[in-house]
Symmetry: D3
Subunit: 134 residues, 6 copies
């Protein structure tokens, strides 16, 4: 079993807030991540594909192709956008890094041409990151 990882970055903003909670409940739950005008991050995304090496090419998957797939399906929709307001696949979803990892998984899982999607990892800051394995 071999694992190929592609790292991409995107800059986005978000606000952790639930309309069905009171101001105080939101503040208790999300602290400064609930600040009224939102904030943002340079997210780092690592996508891992697992499988066998194709002896005809020496590749598990051409990482240039994986890069294009990630950019088209994920990065172009997230980069320089606001997770609460103008990212279609995040509509109605609390934009925590956990939920973002799950939704990015859903965008990619059917589009991997060789091997299978193994993991989606997102660094929200240099100290906090989330990994989802489906």
């Amino acid at each position: 079993m071999i694992y190929a990882t592609r790292r991409e970055t995107f800059s986005a903003s978000h606000r952790l807030h639930q309309d069905n909670l009171t101001e105080e409940e939101n503040s208790n739950l999300y602290g400064k991540c609930n600040n009224k005008f939102g904030h943002g991050h340079n997210y780092i995304l690592e996508v891992v594909v697992a499988g066998e090496i194709d002896p005809a090419t020496g590749y598990l998957i051409d990482l240039k192709k994986l890069k294009s797939i990630i950019r088209e399906n994920v990065i172009d929709k997230l980069d320089h956008h606001h997770l609460n307001f103008d990212v279609e696949f995040m509509q109605g979803i609390i934009p925590t890094t956990e939920n973002l990892a799950v939704e990015i998984w859903k965008q990619l899982v059917d589009k991997i041409p060789h091997g299978k999607l193994y993991s989606v990892k997102i660094f929200e800051t240099e100290n906090n990151y989330i990994e989802y394995k489906g």
Copy 2:
């Protein structure tokens, strides 16, 4: 001459947009940084103080004190905020990294207890950064 640097980070959002320009002019000028709902970054701030070593302590400046000064005057006002809407010292200023560096300089220049403020450096992304030397 000796130089002491303290590194801090903050997460903020912004939008590059001027009300006195048309939509098209804003878009031409700022590209995806002009996207309607804004975006954000994990900014990295490096503050450099220059001076002489105090022989009584072996310090140019106690970096624990410099950390407190930067957090009180800069980080607490920027972290998890929106540069366009809820950062007092950025009101009325186009929130480019260049302008942000100049305004951070102004917040700090009179508050350095030993040595003099030498440089304010801000990494907006891992590929783009600005340094201001007053």
Copy 3:
């Protein structure tokens, strides 16, 4: 299954040495890590919690809470201390990174409020690191 990681750092000193061995045996076993006056590191600690996303919050675990738990139970006891002499939970234990990881695991395993402790990873230097999974 989702995994949430919190990264913390601490600076500590240690000496690899066993009183029941001769000087030569200690030197053969630990090399320069046995130097008489000890040495130190900027350790990087990564704590991984595994579990399910709570749909009420979008979190596996609030990483601000995990940060407080790690700081109170681990970092405050290690940072700027000497692993051989003034860290209670390391008393009588050879302060290798392997043993340190196991003891940090013990400090944390019962204190994780959501999900379960999955891994404790310690970087001793940029080239050497240890991971313990219980």
Copy 4:
């Protein structure tokens, strides 16, 4: 179960090219990695050994010894060499990072004195890496 990792680096050049394919097939398959004169990378290698802590030493494996084993068997043969032309264990093998990881595994798997080889990870660039687990 505990995991000990040693990180090493080497600088090498390579060209992705198969003699049994036409120029156009090679170009379609490998893109700029097929450029005629080759190119190179600062590869980062991480070797992970898994096992139990030896209570007599506090080590899973002495990382100074693991370092020597990796340097003698792998780094000295790769560093400042050309993967296509003057690395014996890569002769006749397409020098993709996937194949390189497998061949490095073969060089090391029988030479680990304590614990077992668990993983060989290679970063080809800061955005692309491969992990092989045997």
Copy 5:
């Protein structure tokens, strides 16, 4: 005075060798960098422009434009190429990092639309880098 930096990367191979020296002289001078088949690096390039902030935009220079200028004039010519054989602006020049920095400076110095080129910095490895200021 404000300084704006753009960071780019490229992967290239080279060999330090002078035809007018004997094998032994080349080997004494360049060591393993003289190995017959060459080797390569992931070079990191940082280009610094110095000037004043344009009050009409808040920019010293649009870093998206600086990125395009660097890619067109430098990166596209170096990335996945061999500095000795297929980079036009390095023909006849010993491909040390020092000389590479000077030649990259020459490619860029007349093409900066706002401000002036201040520095070209190249990291050959994580431990060795060169800066040229014209």
Copy 6:
């Protein structure tokens, strides 16, 4: 003018403490850096040499030689040692990073074979660093 930098690392311990001060004065001055048993760091050292490129070699200075000079004169004396107790050139000197930078400068300034020593930079942690320019 061209600048060549070599990066090295060393692990050492220290304690900030002056015998001529009371316990309380030491504690006020140095905080947790005064803790009784000391602590340690993975210091990162960057040594910068400035000068002209030698047209006969393409080098400002052979960085392999600079590496040997730094290791022999600085790293071998500091690595895995205690700055207060077993580093000869630090005897009688408060082991702040500022003083350490000055003393490393003194060790190196007369030993640079080409160009001149320009700067000694030490990262004590990822957030604090000192630069000395003589």
